[in-house]
């Protein structure tokens, strides 16, 4: 008997040597056992009942309300369309194009540095006046061209009416009157004016004109055909304005209700000359290179990273960013 016992003992010891911890693990680890142990005692031993129970319920296809159609793969979209018997949309290659305004400023006016600050009597001021006359010849030609379409055109009278257009455009903008705004603003300027005015209350007042507005630059260009002519006039406005922007909750975001600021602006107006019913409309604003950078807003914000995925996409993105950079602000504040 003793020999048999010793054989069993030695066998057990060998077993322990082979897996030293696994067998005695609960005794060795003094820590708490964190694993949940679940017992399911109500399960029937015969699995057929599970299938039968499932058959009791008639399966229906539940609508997927929160499915994002943009997330679906092409194959899934195809299956869905087949299910519903919808034909895929025909590729429509033609696009009607109507050119009612140009896409930018051609031969833009370069405002003299320090304009609005230097007196005409000072040397630099006098130099500016001379330079202005030197550059005039092309503008005179353009004005002549405008007169061939519009016989009554007068530079000085236009500057006065330009101020009306300018004030109207601002008034319609603050009233968010998008239909009337289209009559005084070109299609190029429209998105820039409507950008970021949602959810805001804008208080804007044109107090007075410090200097009479004057036409500083005129250019004409043709698009596609020779007789399809657009004219652009740059008008210099020096005025006093008040601007206060409130957010949706009536809290002041920018500007002040009581502080009048001197504003110097070079505004480009455009007219489709070949169009019999063409109107002078606000087209763009010129921001000179020498203008000091605008004060950053008071609000703290997290800088957004622009995602760059592929080369082709990144190129187009850069183009978009460039356009955004060239966007004109509401007012060019000097002083």
């Amino acid at each position: 008997m003793a020999t048999v016992k010793s054989v069993v003992m030695s066998g057990a010891m060998n077993f322990l040597k082979m897996n030293p911890l696994n067998l005695l693990a609960p005794c060795v680890n003094t820590g708490v056992n964190l694993q949940f142990v679940r017992y399911r005692r109500a399960k029937h031993w015969n699995p057929k009942f599970k299938r039968l129970r499932a058959q009791k319920v008639i399966k229906i296809d539940l609508p997927r309300f929160n499915e994002d159609p943009n997330e679906l793969s092409e194959e899934e979209v195809r299956t869905k369309m087949k299910e519903r018997g919808v034909l895929p949309p025909r590729p429509w290659m033609e696009q009607p194009v109507h050119i009612s305004c140009t896409g930018g400023i051609f031969e833009p006016y370069v405002p003299p540095e320090g304009d609005g600050k230097k007196s005409a009597i000072s040397t630099s001021g006098a130099k500016q006046t001379i330079e202005f006359f030197e550059k005039k010849s092309k503008s005179v030609m353009a004005v002549r061209k405008i007169r061939t379409f519009d016989e009554d055109f007068n530079r000085h009278a236009f500057a006065e009416s330009a101020q009306d257009i300018y004030i109207k455009a601002h008034t319609y903008m603050i009233n968010k009157d998008k239909y009337k705004l289209r009559e005084v603003v070109t299609e190029r300027a429209y998105p820039e004016i409507m950008h970021n005015i949602k959810n805001t209350t804008i208080h804007w007042k044109f107090i007075q004109s410090l200097e009479p507005p004057r036409v500083v630059h005129a250019r004409c260009t043709d698009i596609i055909t020779k007789d399809n002519i657009f004219a652009q006039l740059t008008v210099r406005f020096h005025s006093q304005q008040v601007l206060a922007i409130y957010d949706r909750f009536g809290r002041l975001m920018h500007g002040s209700e009581i502080l009048a600021k001197d504003v110097l602006e070079y505004v480009v107006f455009e007219k489709h000359l070949s169009n019999q019913y063409g109107l002078w409309r606000l087209h763009d604003k010129i921001i000179p290179d020498w203008m000091p950078p605008r004060e950053p807003g008071l609000k703290t914000f997290v800088r957004q990273e622009i995602p760059v995925s592929t080369e082709i996409e990144s190129e187009s993105e850069v183009a978009v960013v460039d356009n955004e950079k060239s966007k004109t602000p509401e007012t060019v504040n000097v002083q």
Binding site: V57, I58, F65, Y246, M253, K299
Partner: protein
């Protein structure tokens, strides 16, 4: 039968006139209820998102600035409205950070959805509603609405049917700028000693002699 217009009736009438043999398939007519999740009237969310569109009049500098808020909703979640209620109640009156933290540790389907909705609302508040710091927000309202219910069937014995209802729910949340109040449910807050004493005194003073002058 709502979709059966005048033309549809005319087609049937013509068909009956011509011969009785003509079979009209009913699938030709729109006979279902028009309920789309994206139309305002039928989605069951009322004007909740329209509160976001209200523009308040400008304030003068001496007024206390209005606190910003943003309303957000997740519609027709495939989850029981009754289960969602517990989750909605949990986050009421917490800061956004705390609410997100709490919801992360709840092992329920609805908790993840509520968390996503709150985070989306937070993003909206910063991007569209002029909220400066995204952590300076608290859950001012959080509640559940009953969504679309799909009716299904269940086979019973002897050719009978039982009804199965597949519920959906809406989760509504409103985040407000600032710090949460000390007691979200103000009227049922635990009273302090002084408040209890004041109440008792008031009660004592309110005693009147019945039938007296």
């Amino acid at each position: 039968m709502f979709g059966l217009g005048i033309s549809g009736i005319k087609v049937i009438a013509d068909a009956l006139k011509l011969s009785e043999r003509v079979v009209i398939t009913y699938s030709q007519f729109h006979s279902g209820r028009i309920d789309y999740a994206w139309t305002r009237e039928k989605n069951g969310c009322g004007k909740w998102l329209h509160y976001n569109k209200k523009i308040y009049p400008p304030q003068t500098p001496d007024e206390e600035p209005r606190s910003a808020f943003v309303c957000h909703v997740k519609r027709n979640i495939k989850y029981s409205p009754w289960k969602m209620w517990y989750i909605a109640c949990l986050v009421r009156g917490l800061t956004v950070e705390e609410a997100v933290k709490q919801l992360t540790f709840i092992n329920k389907k609805g908790a993840g959805i509520a968390k996503d909705t709150i985070l989306e609302a937070q993003e909206l508040a910063v991007s569209q509603h002029n909220v400066e710091y995204k952590t300076n927000l608290w859950v001012a309202e959080s509640f559940v609405g009953k969504g679309h219910v799909v009716k299904g069937f269940r086979r019973h014995a002897r050719a009978r049917f039982g009804k199965v209802e597949y519920f959906h729910c809406h989760y509504f949340v409103r985040l407000e700028e600032g710090t949460p109040p000390e007691h979200y449910y103000y009227h049922t807050r635990p009273l302090t000693g002084t408040e209890m004493l004041d109440n008792w005194l008031q009660e004592m003073r309110n005693r009147r002699i019945f039938g007296g002058l």
